[in-house]
């Protein structure tokens, strides 16, 4: 088979894996070698679906012995199949890298013969790249659940990031949709990698030149919308993964119906993209904003409001904490203001060292006030324009068009009283803003 044909089959088979990040590793180039890691990560292109392309994302093979109902590569599907040899993978990676098309390699695989056999093939591909081709760019590799832990360890020394996919957020769903996989076999390599990362890190404190282990950390992915779990159970699971398994990232992938005929899968027309987006927002709140899963959702409202982002939602449910004074609030509280993120919070902390900030200062500093204005005061002054009332603010945030008070306390007196047409709400609005 032609290389081009293979690449087509094996990259489109890998595209449902959402992980794309290339950050977290600052591996240095060696003399005579090629490539290095950029710890901030670099995106090299953006595909037509708007997702970034930073790694050459391919499967080693899409021949599979498993039959997971949600997966395009399952054994019972009639799709074109192909396999790369480790040499072909290395060659493609190097030549793409030399032309600056990619930041590195993302290599996954379907299961051929057995998990251990597949893992060995993956190991061989990265060994070839690192040792023969002297490639020092970023490599992200899948650890295959059920593979011999010794091969996983050997691979971990060579790569920058490893991931094991959880696939579905509960054991029941796994049983139903991926009968050959089970929770235990997924968590086992995950736990193993975590313990190795910690172990090697400690080792490096004593022996500086000891080999690193998965320096960019571990990640995982789960499919959202293919099984009946609610958002609460999903973010609780993520929280546990971050706390106990020290994962760097949990990726969420809106379920795309690739296999039409399965009684266990929901029939949907469009992937639940907005739900995926809300989960990512919540995920960020867990990782960078000091929120816990229990604060964002509870048993009474186990799903996110599609209309409003999780942070604004939290703020409105805890409106008694607001407004906060921009010039006094501590970092943790600033981060909890809707619309203020890590960057803005740092900017505020910096700028208020030399000057007490007012509303215009914030605007000039580039802090987005669309949501924040309802929750802050600047030098004691409130600029939200509404009473601090969760219902009013919710209304203003979810429905931009009707933000204006339906019953104004003032009235624009007409210049032409003979015209009996009353000004509409819209006219009132325009009379204030001056916009037509």
């Amino acid at each position: 088979m032609e290389l081009q044909e293979k690449l087509k089959i094996l990259s489109s088979a890998a595209k449902y894996d959402v992980s794309c990040s290339s950050s977290g590793s600052n591996r240095k180039n060696t003399k005579g070698g090629i490539g290095n890691g950029a710890s901030c990560g670099i995106c090299h292109s953006w595909a037509d679906d708007g997702r970034c392309i930073s790694l050459l994302k391919i499967l080693l093979t899409n021949y599979c012995i498993y039959d997971c109902s949600y997966c395009v590569n399952r054994i019972s599907n009639d799709v074109p199949r192909a396999s790369f040899t480790p040499n072909e993978v290395a060659n493609l990676t190097i030549n793409f890298y030399k032309r600056n098309y990619i930041e590195g390699l993302f290599l996954s695989s379907s299961i051929i013969k057995s998990p251990s056999y597949t893992m060995e093939l993956l190991y061989e591909s990265v060994r070839l790249l690192r040792e023969e081709y002297r490639f020092n760019g970023y490599i992200h590799i899948k650890a295959i659940p059920g593979a011999d832990l010794r091969i996983i360890e050997a691979t971990g020394i060579l790569v920058d990031r490893m991931s094991v996919n959880i696939e579905l957020p509960s054991n029941n769903s796994l049983k139903l949709l991926a009968p050959q996989k089970e929770k235990e076999s997924i968590l086992k390599p995950m736990g193993f990698i975590t313990s190795k990362i910690i172990e090697k890190k400690d080792e490096r404190k004593i022996i500086k030149r000891a080999p690193g282990f998965v320096p960019a950390g571990q990640s995982t992915q789960m499919i959202v919308g293919a099984s009946p779990e609610n958002d609460l159970s999903i973010i609780r699971l993520s929280e546990k993964l971050y706390q106990h398994y020290k994962l760097k990232r949990v990726y969420y992938s809106a379920y795309v119906p690739v296999n039409s005929s399965s009684p266990n899968l929901p029939a949907i027309n469009n992937p639940p993209l907005l739900r995926e987006h809300r989960l990512y927002q919540a995920d960020w709140l867990l990782r960078f904003y000091g929120f816990s899963a229990g604060e964002l959702l509870d048993e009474k409202t186990p799903n996110f409001d599609i209309k409003l982002d999780p942070k604004a939602n939290w703020a409105l449910n805890n409106i008694n904490l607001f407004p906060v004074e921009i010039n006094k609030a501590d970092y943790e509280m600033l981060l909890r203001v809707p619309g203020i993120g890590v960057r803005s919070a740092y900017k505020i902390l910096k700028a208020r060292k030399v000057k007490s900030l007012n509303y215009d200062d914030l605007k000039k500093m580039g802090i987005v006030l669309k949501r924040a204005k309802f929750f802050i005061t600047c030098k004691g002054k409130y600029n939200g324009g509404l009473d601090i009332n969760d219902k009013l603010i919710r209304y203003a945030l979810t429905d931009n068009v009707k933000t204006y008070d339906a019953n104004p306390k003032w009235e624009q007196i007409s210049l032409f009283p003979t015209i009996d047409k009353m000004p509409t709400v819209n006219d009132n609005f325009m009379s204030i803003t001056g916009e037509i």
């Binding site: 081009q4 489109s12 595209k15 292109s45 595909a47 679906d49 600056n100 795309v256």
Partner: protein, 244 residues
């Protein structure tokens, strides 16, 4: 009113700032352009670039303000935004007055334009690191053309000479007719006419087609979102991308 004109180089700008300080004047500082119209009622002063004076200002910024301010100054200069020379002058004047705290005045009119320009340059540099595309010309020569908004070529060198240290490459800014040329050990910036990038390359590169194939097949058709794509990758950069 006094106007200073410098030759457009960074050293020229620093010299102008030096002169303004020692002549105790508060001029408007402009880079010199071709066919420039001088103002009739102003005193127009041509500043001769001096390496020595420039390096004095350079050191002074580093020592009396901060390294960060020096970086901001240089990056803002590279932005080539109209009127940025004058903004840099105001920023440095303020900086020499209050020292390293200058970068805390995030909402100040004297600081804001320089911060904005520097940020814009840094952001574009980061994008370019990803979207620069090298073409393989001969066995071991890789050539990339691009047209950045700001003059970021000099900022790309450290990244690519570390990463692609084992190949010869040229990064060519077609808009400004300059190029960074690297020969596996050293890198120089030199003039290179912008026209040459259009000349056809004799050898077809199979990896270009492979990458196009990859680019198309990695996209999930159910999620197509051109608006998002353009948000990350503005259309003005598409011309030099082989996948587009």
């Amino acid at each position: 009113m006094i106007n200073y004109y410098y030759d457009g180089s960074f050293e020229g700008l620093l010299t102008a700032i030096y002169e303004a300080y020692y002549r105790r004047e508060s001029p408007n500082i402009f880079p010199e352009q071709k066919n420039m119209q001088l103002q009739m009622l102003a005193t127009n002063v041509k500043i001769e670039t001096s390496e020595e004076k420039a390096s004095k200002v350079y050191e002074a910024i580093h020592k009396k303000i901060s390294y960060n301010a020096l970086k901001n100054t240089y990056h803002a200069y590279l932005s080539e935004i109209k009127g940025i020379s004058q903004d840099i002058f105001k920023y440095l004047k303020f900086g020499f007055k209050i020292g390293e705290k200058v970068d805390l005045y995030l909402s100040d009119e004297k600081v804001l334009p320089v911060h904005k320009a520097a940020k814009s340059v840094q952001r574009e540099r980061h994008l370019i690191l990803g979207i620069l595309r090298f073409k393989s010309l001969h066995d071991d020569l890789y050539y990339a053309s691009y047209e950045p908004h700001h003059n970021v070529t000099a900022l790309l060198i450290s990244h690519f000479s570390k990463r692609l240290s084992n190949q010869n490459w040229i990064i060519h800014d077609v808009k400004r007719n300059i190029a960074a040329v690297y020969d596996k050990s050293n890198c120089v910036i030199t003039d290179l006419p912008g026209k040459i990038y259009r000349q056809p390359i004799a050898k077809a590169d199979e990896y270009e087609n492979l990458f196009k194939e990859f680019f198309n097949s990695v996209c999930i058709k159910e999620r197509i979102n051109p608006k998002l794509q353009k948000q990350f990758l503005p259309k003005r950069y598409w011309k030099h991308l082989i996948e587009k």
